[in-house]
Amino acid sequence: LPAATSRMQEDDEKMVQKYLESYYNLRTDGEQIERKRKSGPMVEKLKQMQEFFGLKVTGKPDAETLNMMKQARCGVPDVVR
């Protein structure tokens, strides 16, 4: 179970990064998400996404935010690229 959990967390982190890159112009340069997560851009983009969808604005990838990110959607970014 713990191994599965940590695997899941890793997958979720990748998904969050990919989602924010795709739809919120998050720019990454190949750095690991663990380093990015504590810095500004990731938190700011998460907040932007949470505000857009009317979620609680925490800047953290909480369960509700992850659920929203997992839904099927249009591929056009929510902010202009």
Binding site: Q71, A72, R73, C74, G75, V76, D78
Partner: protein
């Protein structure tokens, strides 16, 4: 709504489109119909007209492609991204790409081509994503059976191209705003401890652990319920919620729709045929009785005996003093009845038969 940054738009109002290839998931005619209907949604509310061409370059080219298809956005295989479109402009401008790794349908199954095409065409015409959950331009896929432009979508497209030349000005459904002081409700009930408010196609839900109200489509929970419900009540000990519209009602347990519904209110509850709809209903836990409010009268139904109590209907004003003579919605919580009429809400103590407080109807939403 939001416009695409830089406000790109088509300079001519008659646009052409071409379907470059067809998905094998559907007959060609179904694809043609879905795309045509999607264009009609937008032409009905704007001065734009669209015609299909079978060869050459059209303003809007539509195609089914997968993975890397030589634009700036690869598709991602099944699920995830369903489609994308480009803003108005020459060449790739306006074009719509559908992810061929999805399964395309003409019904409620994922993913309805008409629903997705209608959204993408909004981008082709210059709209960006809306954060109004009831808008077609909301970025997440949800299909409840109807594909409707909301008033938000109509406002968006008319901001770009002006109003429709059609003399009957079409209006779209509005998404309820929880903090709108003019908000009224169709029906309200408790559902497994949460208060659920119903309005048009939407529910609003609050519970004590999460103060932010949740707004979403009724069909998310109960795909077979109609919109614009008129009354609802929960029987806590049976874990059952009943929803009413016209002379029909439906029953659910949690997310499960109970089989055998809708049933009619005449045979099940014994209403006379003169009753065409129920305005509001509430179950009183202590007594096992359900109160049905119809115009200025109410009826009392015994859930144990499954029969209407004798001596009803009675006047609402006679036994529920202070709440007026008409009820839009009512629910019970902690032994009190909360009556709603228009933008007013009355907290009523059924034991003392007194109104305790008067509030705005949306006081539950922490506005």
């Amino acid at each position: 709504y939001a416009l695409t940054e830089g406000n790109p738009r088509w300079e001519h109002t008659h646009l052409t489109y071409r379907i470059e290839n067809y998905t094998p998931d559907l007959p060609r005619e179904d694809v043609n119909n879905a795309i045509q209907k999607a264009f009609q949604l937008w032409s009905a509310v704007s001065p734009l007209t669209f015609s299909q061409v079978s060869e050459g370059q059209a303003d809007i080219m539509l195609s089914f492609v997968r993975r890397n298809h030589h634009d700036n956005s690869d598709f991602d295989g099944p699920e995830g991204q369903l489609a994308h479109a480009f803003q108005p402009g020459p060449l790739i401008g306006g074009d719509v790409h559908f992810d061929e790794d999805e399964t395309w349908t003409r019904d409620f199954r994922n993913y309805n081509l008409y629903r997705v095409a209608a959204h993408e065409l909004g981008h082709s015409l210059g709209l960006s994503h809306s954060n109004d959950i009831g808008a077609l331009m909301y970025p997440h896929y949800f299909h409840s059976g109807d594909v409707l432009l909301s008033q938000d979508d109509i406002n968006g497209i008319q901001t770009i191209y002006g109003p429709s030349t059609n003399p009957t000005k079409p209006k779209g459904p509005q998404t309820p705003q929880v903090c709108d002081s003019k908000l009224t409700f169709d029906a309200i009930t408790m559902v497994r401890g949460d208060v659920m408010f119903f309005k048009d196609r939407f529910y609003m839900r609050v519970n004590s652990h999460y103060p932010e109200p949740e707004l979403n489509f009724i069909a998310i929970f109960w795909p077979n319920l109609p919109s614009s419900l008129q009354a609802a009540y929960d029987i806590v000990d049976k874990d059952e919620v009943r929803f009413f519209k016209g002379d029909k009602y439906w029953a659910v347990q949690g997310q499960e729709m109970l089989p055998g519904y809708p049933k009619d209110i005449y045979r099940s509850f014994g209403f006379p045929r003169s009753v065409k709809r129920i305005d509001a209903a509430v179950f009183e836990e202590d007594t096992g009785k359900t109160y049905f409010f119809v115009a200025n009268k109410y009826w009392r139904y015994d859930e144990d005996k499954q029969s209407m109590d004798a001596g009803y209907p009675k006047l609402i004003a006679a036994n529920f003093p202070g709440i007026g003579s008409k009820v839009d919605a009512v629910f019970q919580k902690d032994g009190f009845f909360y009556f709603f009429h228009g933008t007013r809400q009355y907290k009523f103590d059924p034991k003392t038969k007194r109104v305790l407080t008067l509030e705005k109807s949306n006081s539950w939403f922490n506005c």
